[in-house]
């Protein structure tokens, strides 16, 4: 704990626990301002969803002249929405709903809305308020906590039936952003819909290394550096667009450090993630982004080159190898210097270079073979690893009503953190007082290994055995659990109808 405080730079300290969560439903939407949905001028309507006005070659970007600001605001407003969510939470073994407000931006004519994972990721109910103040239901299409992004979709039937109109915004290129360039944020700070604020890009490759960002335990921010801007944003702005003076979305406003230290997910990341979510989503299937993982914790080489006797600007230090990971299986060792991946030269001298390299690994085909060239002492060793699908520390969670219990899948990271023998079983995350699991004296963190002596390999196996064992009233179920790495037996008496 001590060291955490010490190593924290001033900046992340500001951030601690204050990313822009959706605000609680307390702020009433202010009285509508009639001008916001006044008939758009021909000029601005042409821009939304259409080709953007190009800056001249001499000007890399248009300035924030009052005329430009007004024009861009008018362009972007019809594509920005307020999102009211009832988010799923698991407390005391039962699924609960927590209400909140965030922002979003419509990205196509099918009514898909890009927002943050931390706004709509676990949403069970979503209502969207459009720029013209019409309120429409929306459904979750997919999400990705690693980039803190989610896609929801307007109920298009209702949109058609009620003849509601909306515009969509164009995703620009964030790689061309330069510090000092003017940008605007649009969203719903504290529930105040359609709020525009103006500022500048403060930095276009912000990393918080060695600190790691997370959303209620879900890792985030690994695969891209952040856009830092001084554009004022507040809780409720989350998921709203950061827009350049061409009216193109260059980022998704995600975190706020207070006053003037704010952070957005770059549009280049958003475009790719939105694409993958939309492609993988189906009628009964949430869209997602699958990534490859090797299980290596990397460290920038900065100042370590001489210690390892290696050329400057070459390789990345293997700081740690996860137990049970593809890298461990391939024989990668801590303090190896990874110099090439599939023949491609790797160079991570500075923390800012970590995210792009992790992105490159995540883009490798899942389950495919990859050649890792490492320097170990004086030797250069080629190793072949087989990538696995990236899994975070927190596994999938489900509630089992008649047991009064919620459980999660045991992931490799969780098993390692808890020093479990392996990944089998499911971990108890919540217990409802008065229900069979609580009565049987299960506690949070117990890993259920077997139901009636049949092994629980994972959540699917648990679900199957749960259904088998919970037939009718008065069933008794024998559980084998591991608590603090010790085995215990527990008996559930099922006394409620399912």
């Amino acid at each position: 704990m001590r060291s955490t405080i010490l190593r924290r730079s001033i900046l992340p300290l500001f951030l601690a626990g204050c990313f822009t969560v959706p605000t609680l439903l307390h702020a009433e939407e202010p009285a509508p301002v009639p001008t916001t949905h006044a008939a758009p001028t021909t000029k601005s309507s042409a821009v939304i969803g259409g080709p953007s006005s190009k800056a001249t070659a001499a000007d890399p970007f248009p300035g924030a002249t009052p005329q430009n600001v007004v024009a861009v605001t008018a362009k972007i407003f019809p594509a920005v929405v307020r999102i009211d969510v009832a988010a799923e939470t698991y407390a005391e073994g039962k699924r609960d709903l927590r209400r909140g407000i965030g922002s979003g931006v419509i990205i196509d004519e099918e009514g898909h809305i890009l927002t943050n994972y931390h706004v709509a990721g676990r949403a069970a109910e979503i209502y969207v308020t459009l720029a013209n103040k019409e309120r429409v239901r929306a459904t979750a299409i997919g999400d990705d906590h690693w980039t803190d992004l989610a896609i929801i979709q307007l109920d298009m039937e209702a949109v058609k039936r009620k003849k509601i109109s909306f515009k969509f915004a164009e995703l620009g290129e964030s790689k061309d952003l330069v510090p000092g360039q003017p940008v605007m944020a649009v969203g719903t700070p504290f529930g105040l819909a359609r709020t525009m604020t103006l500022g500048e890009v403060s930095n276009n490759e912000r990393t918080f290394y060695p600190d790691r960002m997370e959303i209620n335990g879900y890792e985030t921010g690994d695969f891209a550096n952040w856009i830092q801007m001084d554009t004022p944003i507040n809780p409720g702005n989350s998921g709203g667009p950061l827009v350049d003076m061409n009216g193109k979305v260059v980022g998704i406003n995600t975190r706020g450090g207070g006053q003037n230290l704010n952070f957005a997910v770059p549009a280049d990341t958003a475009r790719e993630v939105a694409d993958k979510i939309l492609k993988s989503a189906g009628p009964d299937k949430k869209g997602r982004v699958d990534r490859s993982d090797l299980g290596i914790d990397f460290k920038p080489m900065q100042d370590l080159e001489s210690f390892y006797d290696i050329d400057v600007n070459k390789g990345v230090l293997v700081n740690g190898v996860e137990h049970g990971s593809p890298a461990e299986k391939a024989g990668v060792k801590t303090q190896d210097i990874l110099v090439e991946i599939n023949g491609k030269i790797i160079n991570v001298r500075f923390p800012e270079e970590l995210a792009p390299m992790k992105k490159m690994i995540s883009d490798l085909p899942i389950g495919g073979e990859v050649t890792l060239t490492v320097r170990r002492g004086k030797e250069t060793v080629p190793l072949v690893a087989k990538t696995e699908k990236l899994q975070g520390a927190i596994g999938e969670e489900k509630e089992f009503k008649s047991w009064g219990l919620s459980v999660r899948e045991v992931t490799r990271k969780y098993a390692n953190e808890r020093q479990l023998d392996d990944r089998s079983g499911v971990v108890v995350t919540g217990l409802r007082p008065g229900y069979p699991s609580a009565k049987a004296e299960l506690i949070q963190g117990d890993v259920i290994l077997a139901i009636n002596q049949k092994p629980v390999a994972d959540l699917d196996a648990f679900l199957k055995l749960y259904n088998e064992s919970t037939k009718g009233k008065d069933a008794q179920v024998l559980l084998e659990v591991v608590r603090n790495r010790g085995h215990q037996s527990k008996v559930l008496k099922i006394s409620y109808e399912r």
Binding site: S3, L6, D297, H323, Q335, K439, A440, Q453, N484, L492
Partner: protein
């Protein structure tokens, strides 16, 4: 539900219980004169005269034990109450005054302070802790002729009067004081405890007497109690919030008969199992155990007695040496009672367990027999090395360090016992419990070699960073400690 407050007390007691009384064999030179016998056999209140007589008699047997905790981050002086249990100068104290978290080598300069106007300080030696009953012993370097307190086993009935004589804190000149209370319950648990009502007892570490003036117990339960006599934050803690639980003599008489001796580590037996838990009623019913107490083996440690005897994780023990297990006030306590029983046996003794397997069909009873082995060395006995220049302490690994992470016995490294706040090691993100496996790319074999490599490197390359490979949890990492420039 009603029980839960008591349960908490019992769990606390487990952590700390331990008293010891002047063993009969240490032979107190002065046999305590019995206080005037009242007419009734059971006394619920003693008269001022009886109390005064007891106070006067016990007073010379109460001393303060002082030592210096000489840790890496500084020194502090600790003073706690002690009871003379051997006329030649043997003093018993609660183990909470010398907690096992403090490495033995860091407790120095033991002294016994004899209360009184002169507050005589007498040089003393730390004899050791006795984890069988959570007491510790200190002996004067020179032989004394002190009145010792002889503890006897004498169960108290509900409603009987008990008295306790203790010392007020240093700021009150270690003035002795007496309290009177009434026995209100005899609790069962890993450490038997007697609950008293009314005024409560004297400070933790004080002897408890019955109305006849016999020493029948020791206050050795933590319950948020003041532990030391020189705590500036709440000097009168024990007065305003007096203890209400004591441990009857039967729990610690063994320690008095066979106390630890300086320079000899106490050989405690163990089974080689971990995470033993009590089995709750739902499970005993399910297994048709008919309300018998049972305990479940959580894990069996490879290479030790239990494994060799064939014990398996998940096995349920229903009998120990052929007898039904002793019941506590809570199912969970049956496990702790059993462990404490085992701890009181000698290394090398043979024990047997009757087991069943936890499954729906009634499984046959099996019996396993094993010889108790000596418990492996604990962390507080391990050798340490304080790297003062960079601000961390490394110590040799003990069995538990390896077991916690499922490391093989042949795994080599040193473990970080302490990282000084704001030090170079802290800025390099070194953490307590990290296991160092390499220093500057050289694998570590033991603490002596680590110390040698470290010191040589620091001498030859003062401005260069020390690069350590460590194991944190189950994952390896590289730590780079920049020296102060």
């Amino acid at each position: 539900m009603l029980r839960s407050p008591l349960k908490t007390l019992c769990v606390l007691s487990l952590a700390v219980a331990g008293c010891r009384s002047g063993g009969s064999h240490t032979g107190p030179t002065t046999q305590p004169p019995l206080v005037q016998m009242p007419l009734m056999t059971s006394v619920s209140f003693v008269s001022p005269a009886v109390a005064q007589a007891l106070y006067d008699r016990v007073k010379p047997s109460l001393v303060a034990v002082q030592y210096t905790f000489n840790g890496e981050l500084g020194r502090s002086e600790i003073i706690g109450p002690g009871v003379v249990v051997g006329a030649d100068g043997l003093v018993m104290l609660s183990m909470s005054i010398v907690p096992s978290q403090i490495p033995n080598g860091q407790m120095i300069d033991f002294k016994i302070i004899v209360p009184g106007d002169t507050e005589t300080e007498i040089e003393a030696t730390f004899e050791g802790r006795d984890e069988r009953s959570n007491v510790a012993f200190v002996r004067t370097k020179e032989k004394q002729d002190w009145p010792a307190i002889e503890f006897i086993e004498a169960p108290q009935q509900i409603g009987e009067a008990v008295l306790s004589v203790g010392l007020l804190p240093k700021s009150a000149g270690y003035h002795p004081y007496i309290t009177q209370s009434t026995v209100s319950a005899n609790l069962r648990g890993p450490v038997p405890q007697t609950l008293v009502s009314a005024d409560g007892l004297a400070m933790l570490g004080s002897p408890v007497f019955n109305a006849k003036g016999q020493a029948i117990g020791f206050v050795n339960e933590l319950q948020d109690q003041a532990v030391v006599l020189n705590d500036p934050r709440s000097p009168l803690g024990a007065i305003t919030n007096p203890p209400r639980l004591y441990v009857p003599s039967r729990d610690f008489l063994q320690s008095l008969q066979d106390p630890p001796k300086a320079g000899e580590s106490m050989k405690l037996p163990w089974l080689g199992v971990s995470q033993i838990s009590g089995v709750n009623k739902e499970v005993t019913d399910f297994l048709h155990l008919k309300n018998e107490p049972a305990v479940q083996v959580g894990a069996v440690i490879p290479g030790f007695a239990a494994e060799k005897a064939g014990l398996k994780a998940g096995d349920i023990i229903v009998k120990f040496n052929g007898e039904t297990l002793e019941r506590g006030d809570e199912p969970e306590e049956a496990a702790l009672i059993l462990l404490r029983k085992v701890r009181r046996l000698k290394v090398g003794s043979t024990v047997s367990f009757t087991l069943i397997k936890p499954n729906a069909v009634a499984s046959p009873l099996t019996e396993v027999t094993m010889t108790l082995e000596e418990r492996p060395m604990q962390a507080n006995m391990a050798t340490r090395f304080y790297a003062e220049d960079l601000g961390f302490t490394a110590r040799e690994m003990v069995f538990e360090d390896r077991y916690d992470r499922r490391l093989k016995p042949e795994f080599k490294g040193v473990i970080i016992a302490l990282v000084k706040p704001s030090s170079s090691a802290a800025s390099g993100h070194l953490q307590t419990n990290d296991i160092v496996t390499q220093i500057n790319r050289t694998p570590i074999t033991d603490l002596a070699q680590f110390k040698k490599l470290y010191e040589e490197f620091r001498k030859s390359s003062q401005k260069e960073a020390v690069v350590l490979e460590i194991l944190r949890g189950v994952n390896t990492q590289v730590i780079r400690i920049e020296p102060p420039q």
